[in-house]
Amino acid sequence: MIEFREVTYVHESGVKALNNVTTKIGDGETVAIVGENGAGKTTLIRHVTGLLKPTEGEVLVDGVDTRQSSTATLSRKIGVAFQNPDHQLFSESVKEEMAFALRNFGFSPKLVEQRVSWGLKLFGLEEYSELSPLILSGGEKKRLTLACILAWDPEVVMLDEPTVGQDAIQKEKLAGTIRMLASTGKTVVVVSHDIEFLWPLQPRVIVMKSGGIVADGPAPDLMMKKEMLESSRVAEPQLVSLYRELSKRPSAPFVDALDARLWIEADQ
């Protein structure tokens, strides 16, 4: 359980990045955090692993205040895949890159080997295992960072803009991985602008604006609130837009019979 209690964070420059945020993320939930650039999404998830400490309020992970624990300790429970993969890749080979965190967490050599081959297979990186991670393409690097996180099997997986640089097939695979994680009881938090990617996952959605939470609820409910989405500069899913447009035409016989929820269920 991750709990934010009246969290305010003020940057050194004086900019208030989070403003009195209170929310809970329960075990096994799939949560999407959306909002315009600078809304405070990344700042919020950086608080969970103690990379940032709240100026006011507190962040609790399983009841423990993040101020009382080091980032390395919290990271054993919470894996964060950051936005820019170039900020973490440094090893001689893809295999070594994946093993880095596992060794830091004290996994046995045998377990390291097992987890590395599992991760490489899951993300289709086996053929690159002996290559330098620095020569991979942007999308491959992104997949590698995700594999690195999942390798140590954290209870919570946080993904910051995971679809950037991914082609349609890889996005599909990523969505499948998120569903798989959710089905195994993991808590998954995805920060993304890619509404079309988030929509089929049907997550609980937290909409942020100017450092605060403006809406929080299931995707089908929130994504129908056009005004709220527009004021938060969040794009409406195409499916909802289509439904809205067709609803304006009373002659369309099938629209009356369906609402967005049914469409979603059909989609799944």
Binding site: E12, F90, N104, W152
Partner: protein, 248 residues
């Protein structure tokens, strides 16, 4: 790290000092720099430092200059100890140590009140080679970017279980490898991308490109520059002919 280094990085300000012609700001900093070299006692240097603090106050960058001073104090303590070891003279050692602080503060005031664009134009006015100017200004402009990169890399590696604050010296140095490699790789990649972007925007197409802004010194600029030169002349005269006689 960011907190200390902010004493050298430009941030937009609205003070009268910020609005001065960059050439005047360069002149003031250069004169303060030279003054720190011609002082002959700690007492004289203290007067120069008080003047620098006053300039920082006018420019409304007192806090940031204080950070610069704090950073340099650790180095100046080292300078003091080394000098004391070799010269066995406290006054000389204290003079060298405090001179180091004053030199850094004089340059810091210039850099934190002058934007990279202004810096570029000033360097071009001195007819320095265009490539040299571009390389220098780009380096200045990328300092904060690289610092931000370093912080983000540290965050990413800490999130993978890397303990940067634990272990003996050797272990801590080894733990810096996962920070330094991505930092250097990113810098190299970025410089390549920047070169391509500049070339695609016709960098180097003509030997002497035109400039968007042509500086013309205002009356205030001229008055400040004249005042700075006069004050420097008075200070130099005082340090050599007046103040030493008042020293105990």
């Amino acid at each position: 790290m960011m907190w200390l280094s902010s004493g050298f990085i430009f941030r937009r300000g609205s003070s009268r000092y910020h609005r001065l012609d960059p050439r005047v700001k360069l002149l003031i900093s250069a004169l303060m720099f030279v003054t720190t070299l011609i002082v002959r006692s700690v007492f004289q240097l203290a007067i120069v430092l008080v003047f620098m603090v006053a300039v920082a106050g006018i420019a409304m960058v007192l806090k940031r200059v204080a950070k610069t001073m704090l950073l340099t104090t650790t180095f100046s303590v080292f300078i003091f100890l080394v000098n004391l070891f070799f010269t066995k003279n406290i006054e000389t050692s204290a003079l060298y140590a405090s001179r180091f602080i004053a030199i850094v503060v004089s340059t810091s005031i210039f850099f934190i009140t002058t934007s990279p664009d202004e810096l570029e134009r000033v360097m071009k006015m001195f007819r320095l080679p265009r490539d040299v100017v571009f390389a220098f200004v780009t380096a200045v402009r990328f300092i904060p970017v690289m610092m931000l990169d370093a912080l983000q890399i540290m965050d990413a590696q800490k999130s993978r279980g890397l303990e940067l604050e634990k272990g003996n010296l050797l272990r801590r140095v080894r733990n810096m490898i996962p920070i330094l490699i991505p930092l250097v790789v990113n810098a190299v990649v970025r410089s390549g991308e920047l070169a391509e972007a500049m070339e695609s925007r016709a960098y180097g197409a003509v030997p002497r490109p035109t400039s968007l802004v042509e500086y013309k010194a205002s009356v205030i600029d001229r008055v400040v520059a004249t005042g700075a030169v006069a004050l420097f002349a008075f200070a130099a005269y005082s340090f050599y002919f007046l103040l030493p006689t008042f020293m105990p």
